[in-house]
Amino acid sequence: MSYERILGDLAERDERIVVMTAENRAAIRGLPARLGSRFIDTGITEMTLVGMATGLALRGRIPVVHALAAFLTLRAYEFIRTDIGITGVPVKLVGYVPGILSEANGPTHQAIEDLALMRAIPGLRVFCPADGPELVAGLPHIVADPHPWYIRYVDAAARLPHTGEFAIGRAEVHGDDGGTPPDVSLVACGYTAGEAHGAAEILRQDGLRVHVVNLRTLVPVDESALLEAARADLVVTVEDHRRVGGLHSRLCELLVARGLRANVRAVAIEDWFTPALLADAIVHAGLDAGSIAARTRAWLSQLEVDHVR
């Protein structure tokens, strides 16, 4: 099952659903034929795209708005905030090639502050699927939910084994349930959750107990999963997003709000990432499993040194 297929199926079952795009058709080439006039392409016009989606929503439609993540969240930010955010009309924004997935396009196309921006809009919910199967599993829930959403598009094959049913606001936790906190918690969302999963396998070969928390939705966030993860000796957040405003910030906000201390480190994008094909870009950005594992080991060693002192 693909994103395009499930979107077409959902729209065929529910005439309220319209699929809109700013001429970003790569992932949805079959939908114009399937949906006819309920496939709406406004051309390269992100502001008008979001405004028209709002008007359609006011008439009872559920617009799924598919556009390049960087241009949708940045060019049309005020339209998302003002047209959609103020009233909370149920528009579902899908950001295509977010984060590291923009590969070799360069900084113009790097949506690496999208989570910060979308999270700052009251009532707007955020879904960061780890892979294509998770996107497909979550989409029916997102479309049925009455809130507006931002979805970080991803179409990769399964990047980690998925456990249990998808549920909004519930994380997926991987690792042994030893009854005591693990040595390391890797807290991730989106495409890099797969890299966190790979890093955990490497670290376990060192004899470490490692949990991986795949958040799935960043808004609403699974606070109990975050608090549980924070009981580990070391918590590493992993995201293909700037350190500011995304998952790392969300965890730190929660810990401060609860008055809790934890050893938290961030694997994130510090400024811009080097444009390259995905396999190279992710290594160059230090977001691959090997880099995450290596930095985690170093942080653990530093904690031991600090502890001995």
């Binding site: 006039s37 309920r38 709406i40 406004t42 051309g43 016009t45 502001m47 008008t48 979001v50 405004g51 028209m52 989606a53 709002t54 008007g55 359609l56 929503a57 006011l58 008439r59 009872g60 439609r61 005020e78 339209f79 003002t82 047209d83 103020i86 009233t87």
Partner: protein, 293 residues
């Protein structure tokens, strides 16, 4: 959808429009007392709003959300006192509610909020509601309904790129059920439009983007009636009416004043302007211009 030819306004209809516009202007003046409001822009579009609600829009004050209504979207939201006044006069909500202007107990503030019955959507940031209106118009088309969507734009608002983006897309989607009315009062906040970013020829710009466009005197009810009577048609072209108006219309010492954008009137000015509307003389202003807002 066919071209709607209508008989000219009768003397009784004209008198009714003039009475209604007078009442709306008086509401605007009262709202400009106390905490103030954007009085000049409200007075330039007051006749347009009154005419549309009386003779064009199919709306029901008792059921503002009826599915089969026409839509009116006020994109240049700072002129909302004219809309508040019109909605109150038409019975969308009691006139007494206008006394709640700027009260934290209500939502009648300086820009529209849909908590006020009859207000379709919020605005304030310029360049938003044409695209929203295009979305509404597109849904009406998809469902085969023949209601129309009217969007009032300011002339200064035409500076915004998002307006022209939506103008382009509305034509691409053949939204001939979408009607823009431009309140061409010649001013943006502090300056005459042509002194800053010249807009003319506005009608030709819309035509070049694939729209039908017509000009009209925005204070002449007979002329408005003619233009809106001939605005129908299903040729795929969205409609634009460029209505030439006067900022501050009806209050002689406020008319076409660059320094009277946001007005916070004294009690004496309010009383004087209300008397002027009823046929009294021009009022000497005692408050300074260029109130910063």
């Amino acid at each position: 959808m066919t071209t709607r030819h209508r008989p000219p306004l009768t003397p009784a209809q004209l008198a009714d429009l003039q009475d209604l516009a007078l009442a709306v202007r008086a509401h605007c003046v009262r709202m400009a007392g106390g905490g103030g409001c954007f009085l000049g822009a409200s007075l330039s579009c007051a006749d347009l709003v009154v005419y549309l609600y009386r003779h064009v829009l199919q709306v029901d004050p008792r059921q503002p959300d009826r599915e089969d209504r026409d839509w009116f979207l006020l994109s240049k939201g700072h002129d909302v006192p004219a809309l508040y006044g019109t909605l109150a006069e038409l019975g969308f909500f009691p006139r007494e509610r206008l006394a709640k202007h700027l009260s934290p107990d209500d939502c009648l503030y300086w820009h529209p909020n849909r908590g006020v019955p009859g207000v379709e959507y919020h605005s304030g940031s310029l360049g938003h509601l044409l695209a929203v209106g295009a979305g509404v118009a597109l849904d009406l088309k998809l469902r085969g309904h023949d209601q129309k969507v009217y969007v009032l734009l300011g002339d200064g608002e035409l500076n915004e790129g998002s307006v022209w983006e939506a103008v382009l897309v509305a034509a691409a989607h053949r939204l001939d059920n979408l009607i823009v009315v431009v309140d061409r009062n010649g001013f943006q906040a502090n300056l005459r439009t042509e002194e800053l970013v010249p807009l003319e020829p506005i009608a030709d710009k819309f035509r070049a983007f694939g729209w039908y466009a017509a000009g009209v005197d925005g204070h002449d009810f007979n002329a408005l009636h003619d233009v809106f009577s001939e605005l129908g048609g299903s040729d795929g072209r969205p409609r634009a009416v460029i209505a030439t108006t006067v900022r501050g219309r009806g209050l002689r010492n406020l008319e076409a004043r660059a320094d009277r954008w946001f007005c916070r009137l004294s009690d004496g000015e309010v009383a004087g302007f209300l008397a002027e509307l009823r046929g009294g003389g021009a009022v000497d202003l005692d408050t300074p211009g260029l109130v910063v807002r």
